[in-house]
C-alpha cells in the first residue's frame, strides 16, 4: 500500500488507521495533520521558502512502507559508534534487535507505542503556527518514534546514536522523535542517515524541550543514498541558562530539506546552529533556519558552509528574530559558499528581523571560489592541485564542525569532507 507520500486519495487516513504497523493511539494528531493537508498545498517554486527546491517530481511518486528488511549498517558508522548505545530505525521502524539501549542511569528511551498523546502535549510542534504540508503529512502518517528523557541534574557521558536506514526501492518512512532534557541535565544525540542506492523518501520530525540550565548537543550526519529524499523538521524550545548546540552535515542524498526552528524562551541562553553541505552531481540541500529570541541576554550563532560542484545547489535561508523587549542579544549568522562548477548554484538568504534596540546582530554571506593564491602557494611547495583543493575545502568547512563535542564523530566528518572533495 502506498501511504507516505503523496496523498492523492481520500482514503489515506482509513488506510493508516487500518494498518496495524503504524504506531496507534495518536488519532488526534493524525486527524489534525490530515485535516491541515486539505487546506495546505504542497510547496511549489512560488512558495517564498521553497523558491529554489523543486518537489513536484517527488510528489508524483508513490512510496510504500516496508518494515521487513535485513539492513546493513555501514562499517564507518559501526566504527564510529563503538560500544555506545544506539537506536536503529529501519525504513522508519525502530528495530530493537539491532539497537542497544542506554544503560547509564538518568536516561530513558520509550517507544511511542507505549505513550499517549497527553504524554507528549508539552512538546513544541510548530513555530508560530507555521504549517508546511510535509510537516502535516508527517503528523498524519508517521510510522514510529521515540521519546528520550534525561533526568534532572544528570550528565549523560555516552552519546546516544540514532541510525536511520532506508532500504529497498520506493520506500518511505516518517518518524516523530521527542527529546526532553530536564533542569541541569546534559546529553548528546547523534543521528545518522544512510541507505542503499534506491529511490526513497524520509519525513522526519524532532522536538526538543531543553529546561533551565540544560545542555543539548544534537548532530545530524547525512550519508543518505544517492537517490534518497529527505524532509526534516527540528523544533526546539530552550529555557533560562540553557545551551543548545546543533549541527547538520550533509554529504549524501538527492534532495534534502531541513527546517530548524529554535525559540529562545529564557534569559542567558546560548544557541549554536552549524551546518555544512558538500554536494556534487545533482544534489540539493536546502536549509531553513530560524532563531527566535523571545528573551533578553542571549547569544546565538549560526555558521553554514556549502561547497557545490557539478550541478548541485545549496540553499541557506536563515532568519534571526529579536522580539520586542529582548534586549542585549548578540546574534550572528554566517553563510559561506564555494562554487566549483559553472552549473552549480548557491542561494543565500540570511535575514534579520529586529524589534529591540539594544542588540548586536549581524549576518554575512559570501559566494565565491577557492583562493587561487592559496592553491598556487601549495602547488609551489609540491602539493598536487587536487590535494591542495581538498585541504582548502577541509579548512573552509572546519569552523562549521568545531562545535561537535564527540571526537570520533568529528573525525568521521573530516574524512567524509576529504573523500567527498576527492570526487569533484
Amino acid at each position: 500500500m502506498s501511504v507516505i507520500a503523496p496523498i492523492k486519495n481520500k482514503k489515506f487516513m482509513d488506510a493508516i488507521l487500518a494498518n496495524s504497523e503504524f504506531v496507534s493511539g495518536f488519532d488526534q494528531l493524525r486527524s489534525k495533520g490530515n485535516k491541515g493537508l486539505e487546506s495546505t498545498p504542497f510547496p511549489t517554486l512560488r512558495h517564498e521558502y521553497w523558491k529554489y527546491t523543486k518537489v513536484s517530481g517527488l510528489l508524483n511518486k508513490e512510496f510504500t512502507i516496508n518494515k521487513i528488511v535485513n539492513p546493513v549498517i555501514s562499517e564507518e558508522t559501526l566504527a564510529m559508534m563503538g560500544d555506545n548505545p544506539r537506536l536503529i530505525f529501519v525504513n522508519g521502524f525502530l528495530n530493537l534487535d539491532l539497537s542497544i539501549l542506554p544503560t547509564e542511569s538518568g536516561i530513558s528511551v520509550t517507544g511511542l507505542s507505549d505513550l499517549s498523546e497527553n504524554d507528549l502535549a508539552k512538546f513544541p510542534v510548530d513555530w508560530e503556527n507555521e504549517q508546511e504540508a510535509f510537516t502535516l503529512l508527517n503528523e498524519a502518517s508517521f510510522t514510529d518514534g521515540i521519546h528520550v528523557s534525561v533526568a534532572k541534574n544528570t550528565k549523560i557521558e555516552a552519546p546516544l546514536f540514532i541510525v536511520h536506514i532506508q532500504n529497498g526501492d520506493k520506500t518511505g518512512s516518517a518518524n516523530r522523535n521527542y527529546f526532553e532534557l530536564a533542569t541541569g541535565s546534559e546529553a548528546t544525540f547523534i543521528t545518522v542517515f544512510e541507505g542503499d542506492q534506491e529511490i526513497s523518501f524520509s519525513n522526519q520530525f524532532s522536538s526538543y524541550l531543553v529546561a533551565d540550565n540544560a545542555v543539548l548537543n544534537a548532530f545530524d550526519y547525512h550519508q543518505n543514498g544517492d537517490l534518497s529524499n529527505l524532509v526534516s523538521v527540528a523544533i526546539a524550545h530552550q529555557y533560562a541558562n540553557s545551551h543548545i548546540n546543533l549541527g547538520s552535515y550533509i554529504f549524501g542524498g538527492k534532495m534534502l530539506r531541513k527546517n530548524i526552528y529554535v525559540s529562545v524562551l529564557g534569559t542567558n541562553c546560548e544557541t549554536t546552529i552549524n551546518g555544512a553541505y558538500i554536494l556534487n552531481d545533482k544534489q540539493t540541500a536546502d536549509f531553513r533556519v530560524i532563531v527566535d529570541h523571545k528573551a533578553a541576554h542571549c547569544n546565538s550563532n549560526q555558521t553554514f558552509k556549502g561547497v557545490m560542484s557539478d550541478k548541485a545547489s545549496g540553499v541557506f535561508n536563515g532568519k534571526i528574530y529579536v522580539r520586542k523587549d529582548s534586549q542585549l542579544i548578540n546574534a550572528f549568522q554566517t553563510n559561506r559558499n564555494i562554487l566549483l562548477s559553472d552549473d552549480a548554484n548557491a542561494y543565500s538568504r540570511p535575514q534579520l528581523e529586529i524589534y529591540a534596540d539594544d542588540v548586536k546582530c549581524s549576518h554575512g554571506s559570501t559566494i565565491g571560489q577557492l583562493d587561487e593564491d592559496a592553491l598556487f602557494y601549495m602547488m609551489a611547495r609540491g602539493i598536487r592541485r587536487l590535494e591542495a583543493e581538498k585541504m582548502l575545502v577541509s579548512a573552509f568547512v572546519a569552523d562549521a564542525i568545531a562545535n561537535v563535542n564527540y571526537e570520533p564523530f568529528q573525525e568521521v566528518i573530516m574524512e567524509s569532507i576529504a573523500s567527498k572533495s576527492a570526487k569533484f
Binding site: 562554487l339 540570511p350 534579520l352 534596540d357 554575512g364 559566494i367
Partner: protein
C-alpha cells in the same frame, strides 16, 4: 542632566512634518475613478498619438488581471483606485518662456521649501524641470542644453516633439506589465521628464526635477525616461516634498533609464513626501519602480537615495547589468520615524561578463517605525567573473521600532564573487562616552554619529544636493536633537 538618547526618542516621536502647507491655485481635474474612458480622456487631454493610447490601454487591461502584491514588510490600507482622480493639472495658462511667467503661488511654495527656482538657477546652474501635480510648468536652461544636443523636457512635450524616440524606449526597461504599480502607472501616467543625451556628450550641468503632490485626493503617476547614448554622461537629480494631507495619497512612479555602451548615468533622489502625523494618520504611499538597463560594454549606473518621507515606501531601484564590464551602484539612506514603514533596497541582475555592483544601504529607525532592507543580487550563468559587494547597516533609535534585512543572493557560476554583510545595532554608549570625554555634548555626539553613519552615502550625492539632503536629515533627526 544633558540631552540623552531617550530625549531624542521622545523628540522624534513628537516630530511632525515641517513642510505641511497647501498652496491654492486653480487646477483642472477630472472626476474620480478609473476605467478605459478615463484613460482615453487623459490621453486626449494630453493630445497624445494613437500608439501611446494603445500602450496605456494595453497596460490597463493587463493591470486588471493582476493582483496587488502583499509580500512587502509593510502594512497599509490598500488604496481604493476608484477614489483617485487620475488627472490633475494646474490650469492651462499661456506657455511659459521664462521663470517670470511662473505662477506666483507656485513660486511662493518653492520659497517655503527653500529651493527657489531662481536661486537654483543662479547659484547652481541647474536646469530644473518643475513638476507640480504631474504637469511640467517650467523648464529652464532648455536652450543651453539643446545646443549640446541634449533633450530635456517634460514627457508630454517629448511625445509631441520626439515621438519616435519615446516610442522606441518607452517600456523597454520597465515593461508595462512588469508589476502591479508599474502597470497602473503605464495606464494612467500624466507627465514626467524625458531626457536624451546624445553620443559622446557630457551633460554640463546637473539635471533636476522636483516632484510635489499638491492637489488633495490626487495620485501622482510620473513617468521618467532617460536615455544615455554611447559614451555620454549625465547626473540627474530628483527631489520631492509634499504638503501635509490627512488623506493617504498614492504615488506610483516609473523611472526608466537606458544606458548604452560606455555611458554613465548618476541618478540621485532626495525623497521627502509627507510621512503622516505622529499618530500615523495620512501620508504618502510611495510605490515606485525604478530600473536602469546597462545595455552595453562598460555602461554604468549609480543610484543614490536619501529617503526621509512617505508613510509607506516600497521601492527597489534596480540595475540590469547586461553589458560586459557594466557597473551598477546603489547608495541609500532610509530614515523612518513615527509610524513610517519602508521596504526598500536594490536589485542587481548580473547578465554580462565581468560586471560589478555595489550596494551600500543605511537604515535608521526611530519611533514605532519599520525599516526593511530587501535586495536581490542575481548572478546568471554567463555573467562570469562578476563581482558584488553589499553592505546593509541598520541603526535603531528607540525600542519600539524595527529594523529588518532580507537579502536574496543567487549565484549560478563558479567565477563570480558575491559578498553580503549586515549589522544591526544602536548608538553605542561607549561611542557617546568617548565623544563626551572630549568635550562634545551628548546631543552633538548623537548627531555626529548619525551623520558619520550616513556619510558614506551622502558623499555620493552631487554637491548641490548634498546640502539639501543634510538639511533633510537634520530636520528628520538632528533638528530634534538641538
Amino acid at each position: 542632566m544633558g540631552y540623552t538618547e531617550s530625549d531624542l526618542e521622545k523628540d522624534l516621536e513628537g516630530k511632525e512634518y515641517g513642510y505641511g502647507f497647501v498652496s491654492n491655485f486653480e487646477t483642472d481635474r477630472i472626476e474620480k475613478g478609473l476605467n478605459e474612458d478615463v484613460i482615453r480622456l487623459i490621453s486626449s487631454k494630453r493630445e497624445e498619438p494613437k500608439w501611446l493610447l494603445e500602450f496605456r490601454l494595453k497596460a490597463y487591461r493587463h493591470w486588471l488581471t493582476m493582483e496587488e502584491p502583499n509580500w512587502a514588510h509593510v502594512k497599509y490600507d490598500k488604496p481604493d483606485f476608484q477614489a483617485i482622480s487620475y488627472y490633475s493639472a494646474p490650469q492651462p495658462k499661456k506657455k511659459l518662456d521664462s521663470l517670470d511667467d511662473v505662477d506666483p503661488e507656485l513660486k511662493k511654495m518653492y520659497d517655503k521649501l527653500g529651493i527657489t527656482v531662481e536661486e537654483q538657477m543662479r547659484m547652481n546652474g541647474i536646469a530644473i524641470d518643475v513638476v507640480v501635480d504631474s504637469v511640467s510648468v517650467a523648464t529652464t536652461f532648455k536652450d543651453t542644453l539643446l545646443k549640446k544636443g541634449i533633450i530635456f523636457m517634460s514627457f508630454s512635450e517629448a511625445v509631441k516633439e520626439y515621438p519616435e524616440l519615446v516610442q522606441e524606449y518607452l517600456g523597454s526597461v520597465v515593461p508595462p506589465g512588469d508589476n502591479y504599480y508599474a502597470a497602473l502607472n503605464s495606464a494612467v501616467f500624466t507627465d514626467g521628464s524625458f531626457c536624451y543625451i546624445p553620443k559622446g556628450v557630457r551633460c554640463p550641468m546637473e539635471l533636476s526635477t522636483y516632484f510635489r503632490i499638491n492637489e488633495a485626493g490626487t495620485g501622482q503617476f510620473e513617468r521618467t525616461l532617460i536615455i544615455a547614448d554611447e559614451g555620454s554622461y549625465v547626473s540627474y537629480l530628483e527631489g520631492c516634498t509634499a504638503p501635509a494631507r490627512d488623506e493617504n495619497q498614492l504615488h506610483a512612479a516609473v523611472v526608466e533609464i537606458m544606458v548604452k555602451k560606455e555611458a554613465e548615468v548618476k541618478y540621485s533622489t532626495v525623497q521627502n513626501w509627507y510621512p503622516g502625523d505622529a499618530q500615523g494618520v495620512g501620508g504618502v504611499y510611495n510605490f515606485v519602480t525604478k530600473r536602469a538597463m546597462c545595455e552595453g560594454y562598460k555602461s554604468k549606473v549609480s543610484w543614490t537615495q536619501v529617503e526621509t518621507g512617505s508613510a509607506i515606501t516600497w521601492k527597489y531601484p534596480s540595475c540590469v547589468l547586461k553589458g560586459d564590464y557594466s557597473e551598477g551602484e546603489f547608495y541609500s539612506v532610509a530614515v523612518t520615524s513615527n509610524h513610517q514603514m519602508a521596504d526598500t533596497g536594490s536589485k542587481m541582475i548580473h547578465l554580462g561578463k565581468n560586471s560589478k555592483s555595489i550596494i551600500i544601504s543605511k537604515g535608521i529607525s526611530a519611533g514605532v517605525s519599520e525599516n526593511s532592507y530587501r535586495g536581490l543580487v542575481q548572478v546568471h550563468k554567463n555573467a562570469t567573473n562578476s563581482r558584488n559587494f553589499s553592505q546593509c547597516d541598520s541603526l535603531l533609535l528607540g525600542d519600539k521600532c524595527g529594523a529588518h534585512t532580507f537579502p536574496y543572493i543567487e549565484v549560478k557560476n563558479k567565477s563570480s564573487k558575491v559578498e553580503h554583510e549586515a549589522t544591526t545595532s544602536k548608538i553605542g554608549e561607549d561611542q557617546i562616552f568617548y565623544c563626551q570625554q572630549r568635550g562634545i555634548s551628548e546631543e552633538k555626539a548623537i548627531s555626529l554619529i548619525v551623520n558619520g553613519y550616513a556619510r558614506e552615502v551622502l558623499n555620493q550625492l552631487p554637491m548641490e544636493f548634498a546640502a539639501e539632503a543634510q538639511k533633510l536629515l537634520a530636520i528628520t533627526l538632528e533638528g530634534s536633537v538641538g
